[in-house]
Every structure is written in C-alpha cells, then in structure tokens.
Symmetry: C2
DNA sequence: GCTCGTACTGCAATCGGTTGCGGTCGACTT
DNA sequence: AAGTCGACCGCAACCGATTGCAGTACGAGC
C-alpha cells in the first residue's frame, strides 16, 4: 500500500509549482493557466492516478459538499424512497448524502447532528422534525442551512417539504362517509409530531363537515405495535364499535388489522380500514389496504433542491412546499354491513 | 452567525499553548498535562462551546472515523435493518456510517466509492457484491479495509458476513417435500450475484437429495416485477404445472404471487410458495408467506465488527462468517391438492 | 526606447488541529 | 551541592490543498 499521490507530486512531475497545479486542475481557475501547462498538469495527474484529498480541500474552503440526512427510522418504508430522491438530486451536483438513523431518539439525533457538524456537513435535511425541536433552534442561530421533510416544527425556522396532509385525510374520510360509514375513528400518530397533529386536526374537521362525532385514539409511535395496542384499547372500550378506522399511517393501520383479526372481526366486512403514506406492497395484503399515496421520491427531490439553494447562499426562508396526495382505494374499505 | 471557536481560542482563554490544549482535550494524551491545567482547558472549551473540527484532525491523522456503507437498493426491506446493525456498532465507537445507495449500478457504485475515498473514509461495508467485482480488486490492492455483507464475490479478498443460504434453501425444499410436493420450481435470483448462485446450487442439491428434477428460472433482479415476469413465463411454458415455487427472495415470491393470482390459481391450494429473507410484514399478507428468516441486524453487527478490526490494524483475512437461518412456516405452503 | 498592460506563474500564508522534540523547573538521589 | 530524572509545557513542523499578492516576461503602443 503506497501512499496516494498529492498535488505536490503532480506539480513536481509536471515541473510546475503546486499552486499552478491546483489552478490547472480546477475547471474554474484553469483559465488562469497557460493551456500547454494545464495539459501537462492534467497528464501528470492522470499518469499518477491523482485524486484530490477532499479533507485538505475542505479544511481550506470550509465546504465539504456533504449533507447530513437525518431519518427517524430507516425501516419505515416511507423513508428510503425519500432518501433516493435526495440522492438523485445531490449526487449529480457533486454532493454526498450522509444518511443517519436516529431511532426517534432525540439524544441520538443530537449526537449524529454534532458528529456531522464536526465533519463540516454543508447542510442538513431532517425528516425527524418534532413539533418542539431545540436542535433546530440552535442550528438556525448558528446559520446552518437545513430543510425539513415530511415533518415540521411549530416555529417555522426552515423550509418544509411535505405532503398535503389535510387534503389527504379529508379524502380518506370523505371516501368512508360516501360508503355510508357514520362511526369513523382515527388512530392518530403521536401528537408531538406535526404529521400526527395535522392529520388529527384534518380528521376532526372532516368528520365535523359531515356532522359526525370525532373519536380519536393517539398511538405512541408510528409503528404497527403501537397501532395494535391502540386498536385493542379501542375495541375493549365501552360504546358502539366503530365501522371504520382511519390509521395515522400504514404501519398503524397494519397493527390495527392485527387487532381486528385477533378480535375475530373481518376487514372490510366488519370494519373498514385506511392507511396513510401508501407504502410499498400494500396491494399484496389481503385485504389490500386503502391508503393515501404520498409522493415520497418527490419529497426528497424538492427538499434537496431547497437545501442546495440555501447552501449556495439563498436565505433560509421558512416556506412550506406541500405536494398533492391521492387516495388509493383498495379492498380494505367497503360499505358497513 | 459567528465563527466556531477553534482550539487556539480555547488555548488563549485557558492561557496555554494550543498544543497543550490539544493534549488536554484528548483523553488519550490528557495524562501528559497537569490536572489543574487540563481542568482549565476543559472549562474554557465548555465555556466557548468548542467542538473540534474533524476535518482538520483528519487531515493530520488521516483517519476520519467514517465508513462508507454501499447498499444496492435501500428500498429492499432486507437492507435497512442491516444498516441499523452496522450503525449500532459503529456509532458508540465514534464512527459515522455514510450510507449510499447504488441502485445496483456499477457506475454509480464506483462514483460513490471514489467520492467516499476522496473524503477519506476509513473503510467500507459493501452489500453490493457481484461475483465479479473489479472495484474490490483495486480497493484490495490499495489496502483499503472493507467487509462484504450478504453478497460475496468469486475471489475472496475480503471477509464476508452472510446467512447460511444452503441450509436455508435446504430447509425450504425439505419442508415442501415433507408436505408431499414433487414438482418444485426455483425462481432464482440473478446468477451474477453470489446469493443467487448459492441458493440455486443449494436448490439443485436439495431436490437431487430427494431424487426430484430441478427446474429453475432465473429472474433478472431481486424485485417483484422480475419475479412476476419469471412466474408468468413459467406458467405459460409447456409441461406439468409445478405444485410449489421457491422464490429466490421475498420480493420475487411476491411477484410470483401476483402472477399466480392473475392466472386464476390459488396459493397455497394450487401452488405453494416460499420466500427468502423474511422481510417485515410478510405475516400481514394473505396468505402469510412462508420464508427463510435472515438475521439482518446481526449481519450488520458482525460486518461492522469485522471492519473495525481491520481498521484497527488486523489484516483483511477473507474469512466467511455465516449466520444460521431459520425457516418460518406460514400459510403459503400446504400439501398439494 | 520606454512604459504599460497582460498573461502566466511562484511565493507564502492559511485552514485547525496533532505530535516529535527539546527546554524549564522542581524534587530527589548520593 | 552537583547531578539525575520526571512532569509539564511550548515551539514549530506538518497534513494537502486554496488563494491573495507579487514578480517575471513579453508584446504592444507611442
């Protein structure tokens, strides 16, 4: 294992000073160098197999062409496509995305954030938004470029790219009402997350618009287990059994489905069920799950674009970009029997 | 936005030379500094909110505490848990995992690899193994630490952590035979991937052991679409219809399930079906898919451990660690009717 | 023939840490 | 009292690039 050649090596071979080599190698400054000289440098670089040391460059320029992507849970199928969207924008522009999993733990998130900051990330894309998010406040104070995706914060400090949750939720409720349902329950995502809150509020509005009563159980997290627990609780509660359940996301709905079956009920005959996010393979389920489709790839693409704008000097305007959602009706919703 | 404090700032506040500050701040060298002085430095650092500049440190030490993780397809549910396993080992040891998606494209993989190398990654974990993998040869020549996970290469240059595919495949075939199946087909993963090849070979051995004929269709990729196409092709072929299908992985099996249904057949009554990998939510399917469980998290954990060993100086022994697999029988397999 | 401008290139500082080496000083040995 | 030894700390080089500034050379202009 012989050491990698440095720019000084290239300069020596080409018979120039390393400063000249630097200029020749950089497309932006190569105009300052004699064409013939530049060619000599390029040839020397190729011959030696020179690759620039990004660390040294970063130290000098304090730009790393690296962005941190903080994901609350990579095993939630919502997020991988978002990551791909982000990468598809970043990579061609010479940026690398550093993806980190926070497991929904603020401590872990903070640790990752600091680690990435120490590695001089040029900016951040956070899918980990909680409504109250001290990390973001301090980041904003330090002037760090960032964009939120999917989940927002209460104080808008940074741009947010998200799906149009209210419209999606309204579409789901309207669909159930059109089928004839009157007792529609919402298994809500955590109220500490903007999506949980927004969807809950939209649910309340939507049922109110049909003059129905709202009934809502909050899940501790966006997971199947939490959804199952909430549904079990709901089924053992007093009062009339609901005929339709609106899940805060698909995982919650899957958990609910388990509970419904465990209680000896059938879906959709006894209980209709909808999810949210339209994660992959929902139509392989039986019943195939009706869900609200979220353009995850686009979410990532837009977020990456906004971040690049900021990195390149645009101020961090806290605008919200909300992308349209679409209800995908499958087999888990049917008229009440 | 005021600049981050540097070590010189800390040193000035503490009234020492920056070299002393450096030693005081580093737990490994803090013994070389008077306790009282060290405390002063620590206090100054805390007061200023000092965080070390990892870039500068890396430049000097040529260690970045960063490892590149190359994943062929993050949207394949097999991989996110592997990534978590990797992170769970790396993070507590002060390493950051840089996850990159290669979309199964060698060019994209090479680009990511070079980019990460330019950023001085200390090592790599590759889940992108193809049996012929030029990138790895050159990496090995350059003495770069790396570990393969899940998929291997023909020439063993690096350690490989993988599931015991032959045992898993044998268990699946034995299970089908025990149910009474005689015409068992394998929808194989790409033969260009070690897992595809290994599982195919194991399939051949397993059916031969029961004195049955092997029949095998290779899918172009480990995706549901490829599986569906292969199954359609199989069903339109001449000859007796198989009573059982062994998918090269779960996605292929899902695609096969689509084709089976589209052909008006039922699973498991007309055709039994097994998957491989046991990705999440398989038991929410109807029929719940019988599959071979792979300890994905453990795969990541082991790979990360091996990589750390290498980074810390152990030679890159091309040993293979193979973790036991377990057949999970669900509802998609039944005796032939 | 002298000045001026232009094109090119080299010098050296700089980014923010790490580390080998050497110097100072007090305590301890003999 | 001289010598020895550690403990502690500072000096300065170094990692590999980028970049402001200055210097050189050469041609053009007058």
């Amino acid at each position: 294992m012989t050491k990698r050649p440095t720019m000084s090596d290239v300069a020596r071979v080409a018979g120039v000073h390393k400063a000249t080599a630097s200029r020749a190698l950089n497309p932006l400054t190569s105009g300052q160098v004699n064409q013939a000289t530049a060619r000599r440098v390029l040839a020397a670089a190729r011959q030696l197999g020179y690759t620039p040391n990004a660390t040294a460059r970063s130290l000098r320029t304090s730009r790393t062409h690296t962005v941190g992507v903080l994901i609350p849970d990579l095993t939630n199928p919502l997020f991988p496509p978002v990551v791909r969207g982000i990468e598809n924008v970043l990579f061609p522009r010479g940026y690398t995305a550093l993806v980190a999993n926070t497991d929904n733990e603020p401590d872990r998130e903070a640790a990752h954030f600091e680690a990435l900051l120490g590695r001089q990330a040029d900016g951040f894309i956070l899918a980990t938004g909680r409504r109250d998010h001290p990390l973001l406040v301090s980041a904003h104070e330090r002037g760090i470029p960032a964009v939120l995706v999917n989940r927002g914060t209460d104080d808008a400090l940074y741009p947010l790219v998200t799906g149009d949750d209210p419209a999606g939720m309204t579409a789901a409720v309207d669909h159930l009402v059109a089928l004839g349902h009157r007792r529609i329950v919402h298994l809500a995502g955590p109220a500490g997350l903007s999506t949980g809150l927004r969807r809950s509020q939209a649910y309340r509005h939507a049922v109110a618009a049909h003059e129905l009563d709202a009934r809502l159980v909050e899940c501790e997290s966006y997971t199947a287990d939490a959804g199952e627990r909430a549904m079990v609780a709901l089924l053992t509660e007093a009062g009339e059994r609901p005929t339709a359940v609106v899940g805060g996301n698909d995982l919650i709905a899957l958990g609910a489905l388990r509970a419904i079956r465990a209680a000896g009920l059938r879906c959709p005959e006894d209980v209709s069920l909808t999810g949210f996010n339209d994660m992959p393979f929902l139509d392989e389920l039986r019943p195939a799950l009706t869900s609200v489709h979220v353009p995850t790839h686009e979410l990532g693409v837009e977020a990456a674009r906004l971040l690049l704008e900021q990195i390149e000097g645009a101020p961090a305007v806290a605008k919200t970009i909300s992308l349209p959602l679409r209800l995908v009706v499958r087999d888990s919703t049917a008229p009440p029997s």
